[in-house]
Each structure stands twice: as structure tokens, then as C-alpha cells.
Amino acid sequence: MDAVIENLPTYWRGFSMTLLLLGVSGISALVLGTIIAAMRISPVASLRAFATVYTELVRNTPLTLVLFFCAIVLPYLGSDLEYETAAMIGLSVYTSPFVAEALRSGINGVPVGQAEAARSVGFGFGQTVGLIVMPQAFRMTIPPLINVFIALTKNTSVAGGFFVFELFASARELANANGDAVIAILLAAATLYLVITVPLGIFAGQLERKWVVQR
């Protein structure tokens, strides 16, 4: 326990890097995922095809491989990114298809009758999407989106294996330095992860329950 308290600054350094990774890659994955989802439902066939292929490929590539590409293969190909930036890019790219799928499933989850009803009372495309479909789709999208962010939080730990000093890397370093208190050190790191993931999970669960009441 003493080892944990002594090394709190190291934990904090790692934890703040984890939060930074989570924030930056979360937001850019959201943007990228929205673009992919929009391409996926667009009337332009080639955009649809591109988005489908992108989703399939990225979803079936392990995150380790994506980060390996960003951190080691890209510099070898001649980029000079910082490891942190490389990890953020990798995490955003890896998370974006999951965001896109969550958004798309939300839009698909709105019963067709809703859109039909809107159309039959004379709403145009903008009104149907903006007033009827989107508000419902948005609400249904939030719980799966939060689950995506929970997964992202856990995935940031992989960046620790690629020269980014975040929570996992700090835990590994501390565990190597304090061989006699490995359990306490690793449990402390686990607690810090749980501090992010558990509240998010509870929040998602509550939203889900609300959503059930409405249907």
C-alpha cells in the first residue's frame, strides 16, 4: 500500500495521459464515425461501398496491429509523429467503425412506421429526418455509444505497449520497480480504470432503462 501512495504522482501522470488519449481519440472517433455512418446511408453507391469495406476491414483488424502500424511502421515509412499522436490516430481509426455501427443501428432501430407516418402527414425529407427519425435514433444511440467509449477506455491501455506513458505503462513500470508490492500496484491501476468505466456503465444502464419505458 505504501508503494502505491509513494508513487501517486507517477499514477497521476499515467492517468492524465489515459484521460487525454480517451478525450482526444473519443472525439475524433465520434467525428470519423459520424462521417462513415453518413457515407453508409448516403444515396451515393460508391461512398456506401467504401464505408462498408472500411468498416469490415478495420473492425476485423486487431487494435495491436493498428497501433503497431501507427507507432512503428509509419515512422519507418517516413512520418515523424510523436508516439502519443500516433496512438491517438490509431485509437480513433480503430474506434470509428464501432461508432458508425452504433449510430447506424440507432437509425435502423427507429420503426419504419414512424417515417411512414411522418411522410403520410406531408413532411418532407428534412422534416422527417430532423423532427421524427433523428430525435428517436439519437436517444437509442446513446447507450451503445457509451459502451463504445467504455471499450475505448480499456483499449487505451494497448497504447501503453507502444511507448506511450499512460496508466498501463505506469503500472508496468511501477510493478517492475517494486517487486514486493506488485498486487497492490496493479490493483490500484485497475481501480483507476474502474473509476472511468463503472460510472459510464451505470449511466448507460440507466439510459437503457429509460429507453425501455418509452417503447
Binding site: 460508391s46 487494435l63 511502421v73 422527417t128 483499449n155 474502474l194
Partner: protein
Amino acid sequence: MSVPIVLFDVPGPRARRLSLISSIVTGVLILAGLTWIALTLAAPRESGGITLPGYFDPSRWDVFADPAVWERIIFVGVGGTLSAALTAAVLAIVLGIILSLLRSSEIAWIRVPTAVVLEFVRGMPVLLMMLFILLVLNTGAFVAVVAALTLYNGALIGEALRAGLASLPRGQREAGLSLGMRPLQSKMLVEFPQAFRQMLPIIVAQLVVLLKDTSLGFIVGYVELLRVTMNQLATFYGNRYLFSFFVVALVLYLIMNLSLSRFARWLSKRTASKSSGKRLDPTDPGQAMLVAQASAAARQSEANDGFASR
């Protein structure tokens, strides 16, 4: 996609021509982008006065003519990945079944601690678990990878199965009990087989995640596909093959994962035609959504149960 057809009028000839033209234009743009990437990679580069060959130059790919390389990639690399994934998959399903039964137990002393443990395991990165097992229990890398993957995916499969159990119509259990079955009998013989079949696509989709996560073994030093190609072979044959080895590793991972995903989709179609007709597609509407729906249905039926017993 039935929604967009409802969302706007059926496109007339002008709109259709417009959409065709923009489709061709963006298609050409995408192709041009891809060609640009390919050409950039293929072009020879100057580096410190030496001209390096492009990345599609035969001199960067000639290692793959050596059968010993393939032998190592397939037997040590793919073999390591698959053996870890297979062991962990079997154990995770077993653990998932046990956890789902414990989690939906009638006795609070069993149910509540299981829920806490599940929540704990699900909220933790697999990598941290691997490191924990490796350092604390002092096992080999294989055991650490398999045990961490089993725990994590077992917890997720358990949660999915529990949601499946809870979302069954209450009549199933009542019918079992009224036939004189004991609660455990009804659970094992009547409810569980149905829940398992309904959740099978989700379980297989989870196994795809498991297969992908075996690559985390790279970080804790387990010898699998990524370590063999990117570390051992790339060091042995020299860094100029790094990109080629990366491409090969990527393609091998894609082959494995895509075929497992395809299997999941096929399975969901097949089970759908047999069972109640409620179709679960593990990949299309998003797996998270399915679990969300199932657990939402579960909560609803739990709430109904509470209401009925009051």
C-alpha cells in the same frame, strides 16, 4: 435499409442521374486516392544519400520465396494465435455458462457477489489482467494470455447469456415448474438451451473479439502471429522487410477474423429459421445494440416479475 426509401420520394430520372454521376465521381476520387497511396509506397526513396527501393519492389518481398519463413509464420505464428484463441474460447464459453447460472441464481448470496465480480472484470483492460496474471501468479505467457482472455470474455458471454435467460417468456419457466421439475432442472433443461441458442450469434461475435485480442499477447511477450512476423522475422531478415511482414500479418488476421465473422452471420441465419423467427444478426445492427436490447428486455421482464409477485 428500408428507411431511406421511406424518407424521401422515389427518385426521378434527374435525381437518379445525379446520384449516378456523383457515385462515379466519388468512386474515381477514392480510386485516385488509393492509387496515390500505392504509387507513393512503390516509388523509390532517397534516404541519407542512398536510394531505397519502393515498397513493392521484389527485393522487399523475396523472403517469402523461402518456405522456412512461411513455415515459421504458419506453424509458430498462426499456430500460436489459434491455439491461444481456441483454448481461451472453449474455457470462456464454459466460464460464461457457469457465470450466467450463478448470476441468475435465486439466492442473493450467490447472485450479488457474482454481479460484483462480473462488473469488476468487465471494467478492466484485458492487458492489465494479462500483466497481473503474468507477474502475480508468475505463470508463463501462454497461461497469462489464455487466462486473461478467458476471464474477460467469459464475463461478457456470461452477461449475454444471462440477458438471454431473463428475456425468455416467463411461461417457459412456469411450464417447467408445473410439470414437476425442480427450479434447477427447469433452468437447465428448458430455459438454458433456448437462451443459448438465441445468444449464439452474440457469443460467436464475442469470439471474434477474443481472436483479435490474442494479439495483445505481443505486449506481454507471448509468441503469436504479430511477434513472429513483426519482431522475430523482421529482426532476423532485416528491417527492410518490415512493411512486407506487416502486410502479411494484416492479411492473415483479416482472413481469420473475416471467416469467423462470416460464420457468425451464417449461424445467425440458420438458427433464425429454426427458432422463433426472431433474427439476431451479430454484425449488422451492431452487437452492442443486440445486447442492449436483450438486457433491456430482461430488465423489463424482471420488472414485470416483481410486479406480478407483489
